[in-house]
């Protein structure tokens, strides 16, 4: 774009923004066909592009937008209804405009795009005798003629439409020199085109009330003079009135400026340095213990933090920037695949660094395509399984723990874990023995393997063999992680967790053999301390694993990874539970030092190539610490042997081992009841008001489904649970869910079923002493079937997500 005229560059940038808005508006229009606001907005956008391309002498663009404008004028004036066909041709026009803009951006000239087809199509819609076609005809002919004549006749035609008592020729004559003058004077201002449209099209201005800058108004007395006396349209050029104009959808340009991203990048780098200097200062002040120095450093620290937040904010953009293209994309994809899809977007204003925004564009696109193609079923299929024919695609973005979480959920058929397993075997990615031992969740993660694609048929939407592994690679490249959850028949959720910004990231500093390393917070799930008895540590062959809430967690000793002297005992070591490559594992470190904000510094290729380090950072004492590349560590350390060993021991262990984790809940008046944790899908704290009575049974709405509720206190003959806030134990099997209500969750303990004595009552299997309290073992089967007699008949006998989410 270097050689390009500043005006043209400005035009291209602005037009792209406008087109994004246009896409959104057009798709929204299908839902609200009569919306004048939307129509006016669309009309304005096209009009602006047409106007600007007119005096930049982009004839193709102008002729294209001109016919579109005519069609839109009729729509706006209610002369024709909004139809699918209308939307189609308008969207095609937008595409064509984009194409031409792309050429302009690349070469500075229009090139020779063939737009006659699109123009003819729009013309055909216009000629469709549904009203108003005759009026518009002359205007379109002028569009294909030279731009000079068009400029005079275009507004004339519309002026007639609006039946303004004014001679069109007069308007055209007065306005032309004026607008040219403005543009020449203020090339970079955002508004010249709009100002022109205000003058050129007095009828539109009457309704729309264009925002005009002060300086524009001063420069353009001619504009004010031209339309005012003839049609008493004073509004467009009066700034105060513009402020109040209700239909000004996009204004706010007055209070913002465009800044080159490089300037922000440089600023961010400097702030990064400042943060490190601040860290050093804080440490120094702490060491010296001088009170006034500590005060000064605290102040410095405060200011540095604020500055950092401020600079980060300048780089933050709402995710809407990427999402704005989604409605159009969803519409196109679902139309081409014959799916009915309703799109819901939640959290559009969630902000993240613009660099990251750019980076998640492709993965997001891929996941959305995938959700519609492979997730949401055809309308007939959906109806046959009792779903609404229209599928629901939900995009959700939110901040969580210093990260941005982006979820793409569909309510489609879900992922068949067994099909995934079969495919993985067929592709030679895993052996049948390997997949036989894997949990459902692990099976789902196989889709992230390179060379995996579940599509039976290659469609033009997705399924070209470049699939989720690309998504994963791209997300990991920006320090993020991607995860998938799916319930067959109910839908799939893809979850991206990405850092807020790349430049400065929160990290955990850990120590290993005297050296300090940083683990990015985005990878970190939790920390576990190994006690004297090494509770929870087990061995699969030689390899240590940790039993974490009933699941075996492979352990990787950082000392082994880094080639340090082998650790003699795990006692007093710390396990950092991290997530990478879709799976989780524990990294054993000597000790945890701190969590701090670190700035990733580039490192020499010789160090990067080792494949263990993502970069380096400077600590408060000025020393260099290496940042661990967690996915790389996982790949290197967790060879398949270990994973296999863990996977195969998983089943065997749970059944053969004497103890199993038990969830202990408080019930009624001081009673404690235990149940196997493995049978519990989820724990929630919910208000008592969520429970409703339907036909004598207690139910609650849980995750959009009506779920039967078992009050454990009542079941065990202890009255009813009488609390404001309840502990809800959710058990899910296949598509069936039952909620057990108790007072509170007491603990999760390891204990053996054989420990329970036979002393029991109704609904109980026995009792034992846990934490010096008599605890009864709940007959979970009886409890669940009391609410849902068919619970255990569910075809998919697999416990969905057991123990994986708390």
């Amino acid at each position: 774009m270097d050689g390009m005229d500043e005006i043209v560059r400005e035009f291209v940038v602005e037009s792209y923004e406008n087109l994004d808005q246009l896409d959104r508006d057009l798709v929204a229009l299908e839902d609200k066909p009569g919306s004048r606001d939307l129509l006016s907005s669309v009309f304005r956008t096209i009009h602006t592009i047409k106007g600007t391309s007119g005096f930049l002498a982009f004839g193709t663009l102008e002729s294209l937008t001109h016919v579109g404008e005519n069609l839109l004028a009729e729509l706006r004036d209610g002369k024709r209804p909004m139809t699918q066909r209308t939307t189609d041709v308008l969207l095609r026009m937008v595409d064509a405009v984009r194409e031409v803009l792309g050429t302009i951006e690349a070469t500075g000239a229009e090139g020779d795009h063939q737009v006659e087809d699109v123009v003819a199509d729009i013309q055909a819609v216009l000629d469709d005798p549904t009203g108003g076609a005759a009026d518009a005809a002359p205007a379109i002919e002028s569009a294909t003629a030279s731009s000079e004549t068009e400029a005079e006749e275009g507004p004339a035609a519309t002026a007639e439409d609006e039946a303004v008592s004014e001679t069109p020729q007069v308007v055209a004559a007065t306005k032309k020199p004026a607008t040219r003058k403005i543009t020449a004077k203020k090339p970079a201002a955002k508004k010249p085109a709009t100002a022109k449209s205000a003058a050129k099209k007095p009828t539109a201005a009457k309704k729309i009330a264009m925002p005009v800058r002060n300086e524009d108004a001063e420069d353009a007395p001619a504009i004010a003079a031209a339309p005012m006396p003839s049609a008493t349209l004073s509004a467009p050029v009066e700034p105060e009135e513009v402020e109040d104009a209700p239909s000004t959808v996009r204004s706010a340009t007055e209070s913002s400026i465009r800044v080159d991203v490089e300037v922000l990048d440089a600023l961010m780098r400097h702030v990064g340095e400042l943060v490190l200097a601040r860290n050093a200062m804080t440490r120094l002040a702490g060491d010296l213990g001088d009170a006034s120095l500590v005060r000064a450093s605290q102040r410095l620290s405060l200011i540095a933090t604020e500055l950092q937040q401020g600079v980060m904010k300048t780089r933050m953009q709402p995710i809407e920037h990427v999402w704005s293209k989604v409605p159009r994309m969803v519409r196109d994809i679902s139309t081409s695949l014959g799916r009915h899809v309703r799109l819901e977007m939640i959290g559009q204003d969630t902000e993240l660094d613009r660099g990251l925004l750019e980076a998640i564009k492709d993965p997001l696109t891929h996941l959305i395509r995938n959700a519609i193609d492979h997730g949401i079923e055809a309308p007939k299929v959906r109806e046959s399984v009792g779903k609404s024919p229209t599928g629901l695609l939900t995009l959700r973005a939110y901040h969580q723990g210093g990260q941005v979480v982006v979820e793409i959920s569909d309510d489609g058929k879900g992922i068949d874990a067994q099909a995934v397993a079969a495919k993985a075997v067929e592709r030679g990615l895993r052996t049948p023995a390997q997949v036989a031992d894997m949990s459902t969740q692990d099976l789902l993660h196989l889709v992230f393997l390179p060379g995996f694609s579940t599509a039976d048929h290659v469609t033009n939407v997705s399924g070209r063999g470049v699939g989720m592994d690309v998504v994963k690679t791209k997300v990991e490249a920006i320090g993020g992680v991607v995860d998938v959850q799916s319930t067959q028949g109910l839908g799939t959720t893809w979850r991206l967790r990405i850092p807020l910004t790349l430049a400065i990231m929160p990290a955990l500093t850990v120590e290993c053999h005297g050296e300090t390393y940083a683990i990015p917070q985005v990878n970190l799930l939790e920390l576990l301390a190994v006690d004297d008895k090494q509770t929870g540590v087990e061995y699969v062959g030689e390899a240590p694993v940790y039993r974490l809430r009933g699941q075996l967690l492979p352990l990787v000793d950082l000392r082994d990874v880094l080639g340090s002297p082998t650790r003699e005992s795990l006692v007093s070591a710390v396990i950092a539970v991290v997530q990478a490559d879709g799976g989780r594992f524990g990294i054993v470190v000597d000790q945890v030092r701190n969590t701090e904000e670190i700035v990733a510094k580039p490192i020499a290729a010789a160090v990067k190539n080792i494949g263990l380090y993502a970069g380096a950072t400077l600590l408060g004492d000025g020393s260099v610490a290496l940042i661990l590349d967690i996915p790389a560590v996982a790949r290197r350390a967790l060879d398949t042997d270990l994973q296999e060993a863990v996977a195969s021991s998983q089943v065997e262990h749970v059944t053969s081992s004497d103890t199993e984790p038990m969830l202990v809940v408080g019930v009624g008046d001081g009673r404690q009841v235990a149940m196997p944790l493995g049978a519990v899908t989820r724990l929630e704290r919910l208000s008592v008001s969520i429970i409703e009575q339907v036909a004598g049974s207690a139910v609650m709405q849980y995750r959009g489904r009506i779920t039967p509720v078992v009050d454990l206190a009542r079941l065990l003959g202890d009255g009813g649970t009488d609390r404001e806030e309840l502990a809800v134990v959710v058990c899910t099997r296949g598509e069936r869910t039952v909620a057990l209500v108790a007072n509170e969750v007491v603990d999760i303990v390891e204990c053996a079923v054989s420990d329970f004595s036979d002393v029991s009552g109704y609904g109980l299997l026995g009792s034992t002493v846990i934490k010096e309290r008599v605890t009864e073992l709940l007959d979970l089967r009886a409890a669940v079937t009391s609410a849902d007699a068919n619970f255990y008949d569910a075809e998919d006998a697999e416990l969905v997500g057991a123990g994986s989410e708390f």
Binding site: E273, V561, L618
Partner: protein, 139 residues
């Protein structure tokens, strides 16, 4: 033609690099070792806020490794505009040398040295091996 070389000692031999490529010479401070790295990587150091690679020239030139109580020094050179720190035994003077003192590397030179030594200057009290900075700093 005069030539200026920054000299340093390594395993009792005198080496020199083009003085224009040298940014500074420093005492070694607070290096961070990089586990699992090639032996030529002596670690990373913080050079005024920049993380700089430390190259163990002894390893690079196939000499005996440093003992624990050695106190090597750093010669920071520019490679492709980026600083790289070379670990040396002792930093010497900057010498002005004439072209007529210069000769090709002797054929008896060890293979590890032959790649990175551009030539030899004959001094009154011995030889000065002139190193190709780009190759020497390459790991």
């Amino acid at each position: 033609m005069q030539h200026q070389l920054a000299t340093f000692k390594l395993d009792n031999r005198l080496y020199g690099v083009d003085v224009e490529r040298v940014q500074e010479a420093l005492r070694l401070h607070n290096r961070t070792r990089v586990p699992q790295s090639p032996k030529e990587v002596a670690g990373l150091v913080n050079l005024r806020g920049q993380v700089v690679l430390l190259v163990d020239l002894r390893a690079r030139l196939g000499r005996e490794p440093y003992a624990d109580d050695d106190e090597p020094m750093m010669v920071v050179v520019k490679v492709d505009g980026e600083p790289v720190s070379l670990l040396v035994d002792q930093v010497g003077d900057v010498l002005e040398l004439d072209a007529d003192q210069f000769g090709p590397p002797p054929p008896t030179l060890e293979p590890a040295l032959r790649d990175v030594v551009r030539g030899v200057y004959s001094l009154e009290d011995g030889l000065l091996l002139s190193l190709d900075v780009d190759l020497a700093a390459q790991v």
